[in-house]
Symmetry: C2
Subunit: 331 residues, 2 copies
């Protein structure tokens, strides 16, 4: 039986920068046991919000060079004496425990850097789960003194939307020379980006990367507009020759400055948190359907009837609501 | 006291193409009275789905020339002996009844055309409401023999998303010569478009319209990808000189053909309907919060605590769910 740390012990360990205790606290937050979730919640409330951190979401299709970029980026920011935490989300993989080693191998140098902390996020229990757990992992890392939080996702559509709601700045990595092809990037991902970074801009690729940069910058200027007034940037880099890495960091800093000056930095975080609350509540409400077989069966029957236009959507919703109340009342 | 038509009387009137009865049936569907909604639902189920119709969503900022385009487009398709219904959604206006006359004045010729039916949709009771009512209005018009349904919205962000889920084809109208400016079109609208139509391409404007066409076509090719494989088109038109109108209709026909051949035409409609059911149910679930003051107060308190990081999102959701069950049990 593993000894259970008290909330105070966790808090003290995290505040003192103890990486083992930080890792344990993240595991606590990822646990599905109600008592663990309860304690993780209390711990985070106790630790309170950290100041002046920046949360960066990174996405891109496999092969675009995410790990190599993160290595180079990590080297740069730690050379400025910043502390960096890297959280990886891979909703397609159930082998989370195995991939801890995988990640450390992927980011070999960074994993040995005392200013860096690398950690994959458990993604086993998906729906509403992943994002919630990652949110708490971010808060724990911030409380442990990490000022830059990278949340890395693989490009599979669903996860980007969740990550977008967790971070301040969303960076999309793309390959040069792809012309009109979209490299498997889904509709809607590109316009979530605060910056697009064209990777592997080295050797023969430099010219193509510059052309793609101009192309995408023009397209973004045409097609996207943000409430905050931030104009998404297109950058190029070569992690190999270490070019353009500094510029990414400078862009992130000027983004943060822009957001703070316009009053959007904290406002966006608050909106995200309240949204996370609403989503978690919606998830619980919906979860009842799965919990009670009669509700699940009714919902499926109605779906089929609605699709065949036998019943109208709002009537079906009303019927299901009736049964829902009935079931909850009796439970 | 107005005499109430029976469901059979409604059905017979609609099947025979009686415009007065069609208009009454739409009013029935728009009514907030439960018995009216019930009857409207039964009526639509009784009428059953119509075949081979095309539902077209049209949006664009005020001044882009929506009414003028709809006039010209309506003239073209009715000249091909097609029957056209135009439904207008204006969520910003509470003066729905007043705007019926407004719409008829706006589309002077079309409103006198026996093959056309023009009708604004009530938008009074918003949330989850507008789209649901419009969906039923569409089905009623289709049952009455209208093969082309235009759903027009004003460009204000929220409504486009709702309309997108009601139609097969989404058309965005834009002005030429706006360069890098976005004409107030929000992020996300442009990539919902199956086609962009650059209006007022006449006189001195032709060259600028052609340039904008090439520009936007390139940007769309770069930034958007659809599941169905349809490549969004950029077209130009002049409703004044009646140029490019025919091409819009041809584009819509080739879109429909594409969707049918790829198996997406009916599949998309089914997905939309099931989604409408889920949204209506979510709306009812959430509506409970507003119904019980103690739940509303609790939700607001928790929101504030979550935003201040006093309570974690998933814990707040759990607390609210507890109270919700409690309230339902006692109700």
């Amino acid at each position: 039986m593993k000894p259970r740390l008290s909330t105070d012990e966790y808090a003290a360990g995290i505040a003192s920068g103890d990486r083992v205790i930080l890792a344990k606290a993240i595991s606590l937050a990822e646990s599905t046991l109600p008592e663990d979730q309860q304690q993780a919640g209390e711990l985070i409330s106790k630790l309170g919000p950290a100041k002046n951190t920046i949360r960066i979401g990174i996405t891109g299709v496999p092969g675009v060079g995410k790990s190599t970029f993160i290595e180079a980026f990590g080297k740069h920011v730690t050379s400025l004496n910043k502390r960096l935490a890297v959280l990886t989300i891979d909703p397609s993989s159930q082998l989370t425990k195995g991939s801890i080693l995988g990640d450390k191998t992927r980011m070999d140098e960074l994993s040995k850097n005392p200013l860096a902390f690398i950690r994959p996020t458990a993604s086993g229990n998906t729906l509403g789960g992943t994002a919630g757990r990652t949110r708490e992992a971010i808060l724990l890392c911030e409380a442990a003194g990490y000022e830059i939080i990278l949340v890395e996702t693989v490009g599979v559509g669903q996860s980007e939307t969740q990550v977008k709601n967790l971070v301040d700045f969303f960076l999309l990595l793309m390959l040069a020379g792809a012309g009109d092809e979209l490299q498997g990037i889904k509709k809607g991902i590109m316009e979530m980006a605060d910056a697009i970074l064209i990777t592997k801009a080295d050797g023969d690729n430099v010219r193509r990367a510059k052309e793609a940069q101009a192309d995408y910058q023009h397209a973004l200027n045409l097609l996207t507009e943000t409430d905050s007034g931030w104009k998404p940037k297109v950058l190029t880099c070569s992690a190999l020759s270490y070019m353009g890495i500094k510029e990414v960091w400078q862009t992130i800093l000027s983004f943060q400055e822009h957001m703070i000056s316009k009053g959007y930095y904290q406002a966006q975080r608050n909106t995200q948190t309240v949204k996370a609350f609403h989503e978690a509540f919606d998830y619980l409400l919906r979860n009842e359907l799965a919990k009670y077989p009669e509700l699940r069966v009714k919902a499926e029957t109605l779906e089929a009837q609605v699709a065949n236009q036998k019943v109208q959507a709002h009537q079906a919703a009303g019927e299901l609501m009736e049964l829902y109340r009935e079931v909850l009342r009796q439970s």
